[in-house]
Amino acid sequence: MSLILQLVISGLSVGCLYALIALGYSLTFVVNGTLNMSQGQLVMLGGVLMFGFSELGHLPFLVSFALAALIVGLLNLGIERLAIRKFDKGANSIEWVLSTIAVGIIIQDVALYVNGPDEGVTPSPVGDEMLRIFGAGIYWKEFIFLPVVGVLLVLLILFYKKSHWGLWLRATADNRTAVEIMGVSSNKIVAVAYVLSGLLAGIGGALMSTNYAVSVDIGLPLGLKAISVAILAGVNNPKGIVAAGLILGISEAFIGQYISTAFREMFVYGLVILVLYWKPMGLFNARKTIVKV
């Protein structure tokens, strides 16, 4: 019983990170139908920067954290400007898929060149103590993800509901042309969405580095896992993504415990394929007008 509880909590804490990263896809996709295929590499960058600043640069934890998140957020602003804006030519364009993949490859290889293949864990400020809940033992540094991500999500919702930027983001998601007519530059709003998405990636990576070893090659698999979450939920459904992220985290914990750690990823992707057979637009997706071609 306590093992099951332990697996659930442990699954939830990694799942909330998946959700955080996958939300990065959703934030931009709802606004202009594009997403950054190199999101995973951005998360990696956040993690590697975090480790570099706090362990090699000896900066205070919070300063390193903020720097890592900000740098990745600003980098995504540049990516939007260079790799998205020119290539976003409507629903069927594939150029932005290719250009953001190219960006991901460049980020990863340059990071490898600068940083080397070493991996590192940033010591968590909450220490190495265990937390005991009904006999289940879980590390504080793992458990802390849940409240931190919870607070972040609340902040994100507040930003969306209360700030004028949030209003514009929601409006652009609904009808880009109408927003343009109102005299708001939709390019600017897309850029804001990308900065937000980059911040989420940076924060996700920095958080991750406090419990898991980060190295330059974690980017691609992480990005793919977050993509799986987005596909499971339907990429334009933020609430579904949070749910799918948590579910995926828990199922991974159980598969790793009872079936096999080696083939854990395969199960995840197999599941995604099966869901696509069953519901091509994701489990929780609800489209407004269905066009039947």
Partner: protein, 609 residues
């Protein structure tokens, strides 16, 4: 000089063949001209050309980016190597099995992701490539783990064992066949349907083309070619390991296609040659992937059509100056009308389409309210009403693009269930759209021919091999398309890309494209919008001709004098409700109609509440 070029222009097909044969002959002499090291590089180019020609069909024709084809190459390579090392089967058997398994696994991924659409497919294929790589590393019993499989036997035929030289010739032959297949495909209904779907899914569906069928065909071809090239590589190299087939390889394959020029038959050859020789020239160990990423980015930014596409873009206009002035096919063989309409005109008073109580909601908006009317066969039935009255929505419901919540349709007296746009199109209902939806990459003539895809489509195999039967059917379609263009009175260049057409011509060509499906019912959404007075007159003549041949037309139009002249019946819609149906004179002078258009006091008052 110019005269000489002009004269030789007629022989340009022959010249192309001769140049191609000379190039292949030169390459075939390769083994006796270069040493083993360079022969190996040439061999690798051949392997990449085979795989990337398949991917070129996928990326360039279908507009689908797969970043997992290294995984499919691995399937072909490992499957064939495992079978030949474990069971001692011959190369020819295992290569076939490798292709087949690659096709099956490719299909398993493609079927759900094609339905889900563009970016999902790219994502899933990346994941697929990563998973295959993982599996190869971990599944020792099959793949030999990280060490891979070694000692793979070379192919044999009648006691002769292939060496690198003969394998190179073999690869060259397969690569040439693959390129010819890609070329044939581009000149067939299937190829046109692929490009049409890529450019405008909805317009393609309105011609009865199913996105899934054509895109799956593209994926299947590319899977088979990837499996084949994997098997050939494994049995030439005698050794394979998982690291040959990782994410980087998949990216490299995509890079080859877009660098060479996606959608261009020779693109993969150029791309593969550059990507194989580049590391030799640069001699860099580190940052190689970053370099590939950089090249990919630079190509997208500065050469979006790739090298082959950009060069063709420079050369084609130069050449076309020398083209013979009149390319119009002789329309003397048969008049357009004779070819187009074999069916006898139907009796006018028979009901072709009956709508009963159609309702459509968009969330809280009740867009169509109990719409009922019937359309008599062989007449022009106009739908008029102010903007937002629900005219286009009704057209979308009839043509199957939207589903209605309530109500029923009858076509030719039988119950019609508009399941989807493509399904309705196959029942003989064609439509045009409010905004131009021509396939811009295709020529004017090809646009029309795309409309005939559903009626005359040859099998995929026949299209790839360009069989005599398929060629005949292509010629017929071409003749019919010329006849249709004659019918609408299109005088311009028929081989120029549709993107260069002036607006009025675009609208007319779109109508001709819809007619190419040989519909019994034609739905026209504001065809006269943006047309000049002369063009409207032409349209009017065309509509009369169509009706005289038994085609029924439902017309949405705002030019009231035009509506009054051509219509047999007019239905007026306002706020999603039918105000009335009757003759044009009767309806257009009806006070309720005038009020709906110009707004009376009553309407204005009720709108305020």
């Amino acid at each position: 000089m110019n005269q000489l070029i002009e004269k030789s222009f007629g022989y340009r097909t022959a010249a192309g063949w001769i140049a191609g044969l000379a190039a292949v002959g030169l390459l075939a002499a390769g083994p006796w001209m270069v040493d083993t090291y360079y022969l190996n590089l040439l061999f690798m180019i051949g392997i990449f050309v085979i795989t990337c020609t398949g991917m070129n069909i996928l990326i360039g024709y279908c507009g689908i980016v797969s970043i997992g084809h290294a995984g499919l190459m691995a399937v072909g390579a490992y499957m064939s190597s495992f079978l030949s090392t474990t069971y001692g089967l011959s190369f020819w058997t295992v290569a076939l099995i490798g292709m087949l398994v690659s096709l099956i696994i490719g299909s398993l991924i493609a079927i759900p992701t094609i339905r889900a659409g563009g970016v999902y497919l790219s994502m899933i294929t990346i994941a697929f490539g990563v998973v295959i790589h993982e599996v190869l590393i971990r599944w020792d019993g099959f793949s030999g783990g990280p060490l891979g499989i070694s000692g793979i036997a070379k192919p044999q035929v009648a006691g002769y064992t292939f060496d690198l030289k003969s394998m190179y010739i073999f690869v060259l032959a397969i690569a040439v066949i693959a390129l010819l297949i890609a070329r044939n495909l581009r000149r067939s209904s299937w190829g046109r349907a692929m490009i049409a779907t890529k450019e405008n899914e909805i317009a393609a569906a309105s011609l009865g083309i199913r996105k899934f069928t054509v895109q799956y065909a593209g994926f299947a071809i590319s899977s088979v070619l990837a499996g084949l090239s994997g098997a050939i590589y494994a049995h030439t190299n005698s050794f394979i390991s998982p690291d040959t087939y990782n994410f980087q390889t998949s990216v490299q394959l995509v890079l080859i296609v877009i660098l060479g020029g996606s959608g261009r038959v020779l693109g993969p050859v150029i791309g593969a040659a550059i990507i194989v020789f580049l590391p030799e020239v640069l001699d860099m160990e580190k940052l190689r992937m970053a370099l590939y990423g950089g090249i990919m980015f630079a190509v997208l930014f500065f050469l979006p059509k790739g090298i082959a596409g950009t060069v063709a873009g420079w050369v084609a206009p130069q050449l076309s100056r020398f083209a013979p002035k009149s390319q119009k096919a002789s329309s003397s063989t048969a008049s357009g009308e004779e070819i187009m309409f074999s069916a006898p005109a139907q009796a006018k008073d028979k009901e072709l389409l009956v709508l009963e109580g159609i309702n459509k909601y968009f969330g809280g908006l009740h867009a169509l309210k109990d719409v009922s009317f019937s359309v008599a066969a062989g007449t022009i039935h106009s739908l008029v009403g102010p903007n937002g009255a629900g005219k286009t929505t009704l057209l979308n419901v009839i043509s199957g693009l939207y589903s209605s919540e309530q109500g029923s349709f009858k076509l030719h007296g039988e119950k019609l269930v508009p399941r989807s746009l493509s399904a309705v199109a196959q029942l003989g209902i064609a439509r045009t759209f409010q905004h131009s939806r021509l396939f811009k990459e295709l020529s004017v003539l090809e646009n029309i021919m795309t409309g005939m895809t559903k009626r005359e489509r040859s099998g995929l195999g026949a299209s790839l091999l360009r069989t005599p039967k398929q060629l005949r059917s292509e010629r017929q379609m071409e003749a019919r398309s010329h006849a249709l263009l004659d019918l609408i009175g299109y005088e311009g260049d028929r081989h120029m890309p549709a993107s260069q057409l002036p607006y009025g011509h675009q609208r007319m060509v779109e109508i001709a494209r819809a007619l190419a499906t040989s519909p019994s019912l034609l739905l026209l959404d504001e065809p006269a919008a943006g047309m000049t007075a002369t063009e409207i007159e032409q349209l009017e003549n065309l509509l009369r001709k169509l009706v005289s041949h038994g085609v029924t037309v439902i017309l949405i139009e705002h030019h009231m004098d035009f509506v009054q002249r051509v219509s047999d019946t007019v239905t007026v819609l306002d706020f999603g409700r039918v105000i009335g149906t009757g003759s044009p004179e009767q309806m257009l002078s009806d006070p309720r109609v005038i009020q709906a258009y110009l707004g009376g006091e009553e309407v204005a008052a009720s709108a305020e509440h």
